[in-house]
């Protein structure tokens, strides 16, 4: 295994551990306001400093890891369900079904990504779950195209013809004989997608349209940090680095698996 892939895996492992053991790792309550320690720079008591309400940045970022991990999993889960369903239907049946579904994909791709996202956020309530759902609903198109292309090539192979000749139903052929073979490229796309979902969530939260305070997410910590960017550089530097590392981890792992 490649050194870089290993680096990616270890970043994600750390992310998962932080998310699971957040209450044990974080030295302070992430919501605890401390008026005596407002905007104190990184020090021995607060290793990453505190924010404008005196909350410990390190603790908030540890809890923020939970949001990032969840967003990656759920958003990609949603886009996997839609993408695999549409992609396999289009690829397997072809003809009218195929052109209808692919037209739908083309149309979805016309919408400037963030325009669609913030429109949906404006119409729905900005709960963490809704954010994840919306990100999934707007990011399945690439997967659908990928699955369709894979299914198109696999359905002509001999073992599929054999299954058909033996009288297997369409559903069984797709789910048992075709989809397992699409797994490797889909897995790579899903892992890369998790990084993308984290980027999208953090941008939305940074704009104040994603995860709502006081629930900490790396994006909304950055939003709060922007107001005091000239005196509290640590509130901008550390959460951004965390996003960069997490996304880099998924990208390195995805690229490593591709090879």
């Amino acid at each position: 295994m490649n050194k870089l892939t290993l680096f990616g895996i270890s970043i994600i492992a750390v992310l998962i551990l932080l998310a699971i053991f957040a209450p044990l790792i974080s030295p302070y309550n992430p919501q605890a306001i401390d008026v005596d320690n407002i905007l104190s720079p990184p020090s021995r008591t607060h290793i990453l400093g505190t924010d404008s309400l005196g909350r410990d940045l390190f603790s908030r970022m540890v809890y923020g890891a939970r949001v990032s991990l969840e967003v990656g999993l759920v958003a990609v889960g949603v886009s996997l369900i839609i993408g695999v369903l549409f992609g396999s239907l289009a690829g397997y049946w072809g003809g009218r079904v195929d052109s209808l579904i692919m037209r739908f994909v083309d149309i979805m791709l016309c919408f400037p990504t963030f325009f669609l996202l913030i429109t949906m956020v404006a119409f729905l309530k900005a709960t963490v779950f809704n954010i994840m759902l919306i990100i999934g609903l707007t990011s399945w198109m690439g997967l659908a195209r990928l699955v369709r292309a894979e299914v198109l090539s696999i359905k002509e192979r001999d073992f599929v013809r054999y299954a058909k000749a033996m009288g297997a139903g369409n559903f069984k052929i797709i789910s048992r004989h075709i989809l397992p073979h699409t797994l490797p490229p889909v897995l790579v796309a899903a892992i890369l997608g998790m990084g993308g979902a984290i980027l999208t969530e953090s941008a939305l939260s940074f704009l104040g349209l994603g995860v709502q305070p006081p629930t900490p997410s790396w994006g909304n910590i950055l939003m709060e940090g922007k107001a005091v960017i000239d005196i509290g550089w640590w509130l901008t530097l550390f959460p951004g680095l965390a996003i960069l590392l997490a996304v880099l981890g998924y990208n390195l792992l995805g690229e490593g698996l591709r090879r």
Partner: protein, 322 residues
């Protein structure tokens, strides 16, 4: 060329209809009644809710709602903004030029920077230059653009005070000379344009590299080498031309991301463009504005893609024959 153009134009009709259907569906995100009426969101006044019902005919059957809405959309009538009561289309028209300018400039910047990077790393895959650019491309894919914007703002704007960090014009803009005014706007555009371009840079340079490596392996390139034509001529005249073709499409495909990114960067740099307008409308739940922005944004993307396709057909005669 003309019949190809006509065919492409006819192709737009179902796509445009699809755009309106999906936009319309977004209004009705929640099953049954729209989410905002169900929730009785305290951010919307009762008056605004009545306005909404009237605007989108929410008390009529779904099919009729859509037809009425479509009829008005075709006349570019998106209703009036809830915030200041002015026509949605007028407000969008005011804001659009800035956004288009920033996006076109950043596209130019992407091409100017990514092209040489991609070509040089393709000349020696696995070489030192290629290794470093691969590393930066990976970093670029993972870097949140808005964070980069914040860092540049902090460094170049606040610490070093080299560049202005918000708006398009300085306070003393009206007292400046003609050249002073232009220089002022250019200074204000440097950060937003470079940050917008950054997102596309990594991907585009990768595509250039990949295409270039593929083309350089072709037989006609080897034949050219065999004939003793010098390397520079082969690379920049014969290979580059062919490697560039598919990139027109890639550039077209990057439009939604670029326009979408304007929401983020115009908000950060307080630039009065369409992205910021849409963002403010989303925060204020100004539904007619949001819907107008969504439809116009999608139509712009569609036109951008059409333009890319036409460029492609113009550059590659094989396409027209198909």
């Amino acid at each position: 060329m003309f019949s190809y153009f006509l065919k492409r134009l006819l192709n737009l009709i179902p796509l445009l209809l699809g755009i309106t259907i999906i936009s319309f569906a977004v209004i009705h995100l929640a099953p049954g009644r729209p989410a905002y009426l169900k929730e009785m969101d305290p951010r919307i006044s009762l008056e605004a809710q009545e306005q909404l019902i009237k605007l989108y005919d929410l008390d009529k059957p779904l099919f009729k709602q859509y037809l009425n809405w479509l009829k008005r959309v075709l006349r570019l009538d998106f209703g009036n903004s809830f915030v200041d009561g002015r026509k949605v289309i007028v407000r969008i028209r005011e804001r659009l030029p800035v956004t288009l300018l920033i996006n076109i400039l950043s596209m130019v910047l992407i091409i100017v920077v990514a092209l040489p990077i991609g070509v040089i790393s393709a000349l020696k895959p696995g070489g030192l230059f290629d290794k470093w650019t691969t590393f930066f491309v990976f970093l670029g894919f993972s870097l949140p653009g808005f964070w980069l914007a914040l860092l540049l703002m902090l460094l170049l704007g606040i610490k070093l005070n080299w560049l202005p960090i918000s708006g398009l014009k300085s306070f003393d803009y009206h007292q400046l000379s003609f050249w002073g005014k232009n220089l002022d706007i250019i200074k204000h555009l440097i950060l937003p344009v470079s940050v917008t371009a950054f997102g596309g840079l990594a991907g585009f340079s990768r595509y250039v590299r990949g295409n270039m490596i593929g083309v350089l392996k072709q037989n006609y390139i080897r034949a050219a080498y065999a004939q003793g034509i010098n390397k520079g001529r082969i690379v920049y005249k014969y290979a580059l031309k062919n490697a560039l073709l598919p990139l027109i499409t890639i550039l077209g495909l990057s439009i939604p991301g670029l326009i979408g990114g304007s929401v983020i960067f115009e908000s950060i740099f307080a630039i009065p463009g369409m992205g910021r307008l849409l963002y403010n409308s989303a925060v204020a739940r100004d539904y007619p504005m949001i819907m107008g922005g969504l439809v116009i944004g999608a139509v712009l993307t569609l036109l951008g893609n059409l333009l890319a396709d036409l460029c492609y057909a113009w550059a590659d005669p094989r396409i027209k024959c198909k």
